[in-house]
């Protein structure tokens, strides 16, 4: 059981990460911490570029399996491990897109921007990914009832009524919890951003 690293802390240092990578290269069973440190990041990156949740899960799974298999070949050249993972993710997405268009004769399931005015979603900024990964991790640190609401509402895509039934609360109470949870998240996000700016 890996002790959960607080989402509000800065990511692991390069030296720490290097030790983790080298340990996992010697013993694949030590891949766990690398997964924990990077899951939200990879998922955020993938989810940003594919349409549906199943595809995102599929690809995330693919990325980590590829990473585990290729870990012995990973060479430490000062590039963060996360960057390596995201490159694998890009390749996995491209492979899948090619396969899909070949097999089904459809263009691609990647998000197509319906608004020509905005920037292409394919060019997801690294900051945006980090932001989202941080947000996902912060959900875990919410008070239990708020976290349940956020998870059920967003990750499990349940309606207010379903959440209310699941938690045995009124719909109003659930909406209240949802509101507080989001406020909470916003506060934590901005606190981190402030500390980041000042730090």
């Amino acid at each position: 059981m890996v002790v959960r690293r607080s989402a509000s802390r800065e990511p692991v240092t390069e030296a720490e990460e290097r030790l983790l990578v080298e340990a996992a290269q010697r013993d694949p069973a030590k891949f766990g911490p690398l997964y924990e440190n990077n899951f939200e990041r990879v998922y955020a990156f993938v989810a940003r570029r594919v349409q549906d949740r199943l595809a995102a899960e599929d690809l995330t799974s693919d990325v980590f399996h590829r990473a585990l298999a290729s870990l012995p070949r990973f060479e430490w050249r000062g590039v963060p491990f996360a960057a390596w993972l995201l490159r694998i993710a890009s390749n996995a997405i491209a492979d899948r897109s090619k396969r899909a268009s070949r097999e089904q004769d459809v263009p691609s399931f990647e998000n197509s921007d319906s608004n020509p005015g905005s920037s292409s979603p394919l060019e997801v900024s690294a900051d945006e990914i980090e932001e989202r990964a941080r947000l996902f991790r912060l959900v875990d640190e919410l008070p239990a009832d708020q976290r349940r609401v956020i998870v059920m509402r967003f990750a499990e895509e349940k309606s207010i009524r379903e959440v209310a039934q699941g938690l045995g609360r009124t719909e109003g109470a659930v909406k209240q919890l949802q509101f507080r949870a989001l406020e909470n998240l916003r506060a934590r996000m901005s606190r981190m951003n402030v500390s980041k700016k000042n730090g």
Binding site: Y43, I160, G172, Q178, R186
Partner: protein, 502 residues
């Protein structure tokens, strides 16, 4: 109340966000400026639409852990070497009566290191391993009831263990001091090793060797043949039995062709070959004509010497190619024994050191040592008759026709005449070179053992030989005839019928 309404308003925004599928980056629904707080929350909500499911994260983690475990196992498995570290493909397993003592002996004798020992309560060793040099040897006590029997139970061991060591002499000395029995003293071997053999006190046989010289397989072949001849010839006890019995019709101890030197000074010639070449007299009796008949062994070959001053007969001196270990020593010894020199010892470009002598009876002796390895070249015996015919090619034809000779080698000179040729009759080599200079035809006589004297005699006559004496059984156990070939050589064609005590 304000909060409640804000939470409701927020949920409406969330509903809209969640309902928008496929387009995640569209503009947020229009909001009043005072509702900017709501806008920020809605922005978070739109990002949370990508929140991963907790189940997925957990199950992927479990999945990866399983996979990692498999990879680790596979890696660990691949590190297990099918041939364990330190072992070679083949490892001797010795079955020993008294394995515990043997362990101590091998340490002392061969500097063995004990690697493991599984002793039983009764003191017997169920399994042990030692290392000598870079090799492992397994051993255990004998368990005759299970079919594991030691050399002492079986009465010997058909398998030997060959040790290559840095210093064979030192190791052999050490082994003997520890109690090993010498089977073969350490000596240089023709295949390039220096080697000795010992038996340990438990009946196992060990060869100990140091490699001294790289010898090509062809060279080993050649040397092996020469070695075999040497083993059964010169310098080896007369009691040494040839590896195979004589060919059909050939008297024991003889080869197919034996030169018969019939000379007037027969007794002196016998003395000469003894002194000059270390010949051993094996028989001296009275010949059919009343003179002397003697047989001597030189190296691994026999010679017949007959005649005497008191009887009338045609002398048959011959030229003999005689392989010896040391040409120079034998040359000097022969001169002291009364021979005259024809040619002093010299290295010949055909790979022999040779010298020529003439003895008191007029025989030529071409003494030689092969310069490649063993003194006697492959296929040769100590004594080989040498002919100097006029028309060597015709002689070869006759020998083929009459005696079924095989032509082994023929070297022609610029004028086409034969400088040197070798033919083989039965197990014996015969050499010749066209007559020239001091090397002129000699009468010579050859005693030829064949399987069937009568039929060979007929073939010899058909091939052009002239009759001297028709086939007849002789009191000394041979049936023989004699003919003279067109080149002046007398051939006694014989088949040994029965052994007769001399």
């Amino acid at each position: 109340m304000a909060k409640r309404s804000l939470s409701r308003q927020l949920d409406e925004l969330v509903e809209t966000i969640l309902a928008r599928r496929g387009s995640r980056t569209g503009p947020e629904p229009g909001l009043e400026p005072e509702q900017s707080e709501l806008a920020e929350l809605a922005d978070l909500a739109s990002r949370l639409r990508d929140l991963p499911r907790q189940n997925f994260k957990t199950s992927l983690k479990n999945d990866l852990e399983r996979r990692a475990l498999m990879a680790a196992t596979a890696r660990a498995t691949s590190r297990v070497r099918p041939v364990p570290e330190g072992y070679h493909t083949v490892t001797p397993y010795l079955c020993i009566r008294g394995a515990a003592q043997a362990l101590e002996f091998y340490k002392k004798a061969f500097g063995a290191t004990e690697l493991m020992r599984i002793a039983q309560p009764d003191g017997k060793i169920g399994h042990a391993e030692i290392q000598i040099g870079d090799s492992h040897i397994m051993l255990a006590d004998e368990f005759p009831e299970h079919g594991y029997r030691s050399p002492q139970s079986i009465g010997g061991s058909p398998v030997g263990i060959h040790l290559f060591v840095e210093d064979v002499d030192a190791m052999a000395k050490q082994a003997i001091a520890a109690g090993a029995k010498v089977l073969r003293p350490v000596a240089d071997q023709f295949y390039g090793d220096r080697l000795g053999m010992v038996a340990d006190p438990f009946g196992h046989i060990w060869s100990i060797a140091t490699h001294k010289e790289d010898v090509s397989p062809e060279e080993i072949q050649r040397r092996a043949a020469a070695h075999l001849q040497q083993e059964h010839g010169a310098g080896v006890s007369l009691k040494q039995v040839p590896p195979l019995g004589p060919a059909p019709g050939v008297r024991e101890g003889f080869s197919s062709i034996t030169p018969y030197l019939a000379v007037r000074p027969a007794a002196e010639l016998i003395d000469f070959v003894k002194h000059a070449f270390g010949a051993v007299e094996t028989l001296r009796t009275t010949g059919s004509l009343g003179g002397t008949h003697a047989e001597v062994q030189i190296g691994n070959s026999m010679l017949m010497i007959g005649g005497g001053p008191e009887i009338a007969f045609e002398e048959t001196p011959a030229a003999i190619h005689l392989y010896v270990n040391d040409v120079d020593a034998v040359y000097r010894q022969a001169l002291r024994a009364g021979a005259t020199s024809i040619a002093e010892p010299v290295d010949h470009e055909y790979g022999e050191r040779g010298a020529s002598l003439k003895d008191l009876a007029g025989n030529h002796w071409y003494i030689a040592t092969s310069l490649a390895g063993s003194p006697v070249p492959q296929g040769f015996r100590s004594v080989t008759p040498y002919f100097h015919p006029r028309g060597a090619d015709k002689l070869i034809d006759f020998l083929k026709e009459a005696f079924g000779a095989d032509e082994v080698a023929r070297y022609a000179g610029p004028d086409g005449s034969i400088v040197h040729a070798q033919v083989k009759i039965g197990d014996s080599m015969l050499e010749m070179g066209e007559a020239r200079g001091p090397y002129q035809p000699m009468p010579s006589a050859m005693y030829l053992y064949v399987a069937d004297a009568d039929s060979t005699y007929k073939r010899a006559l058909e091939a052009g030989a002239t009759l001297v004496q028709p086939p007849a059984d002789q009191p000394y156990g041979d049936r023989n005839a004699s003919v003279k070939d067109p080149f002046g050589t007398t051939w006694y064609i014989a088949t040994h019928i029965k052994d007769v005590a001399p």
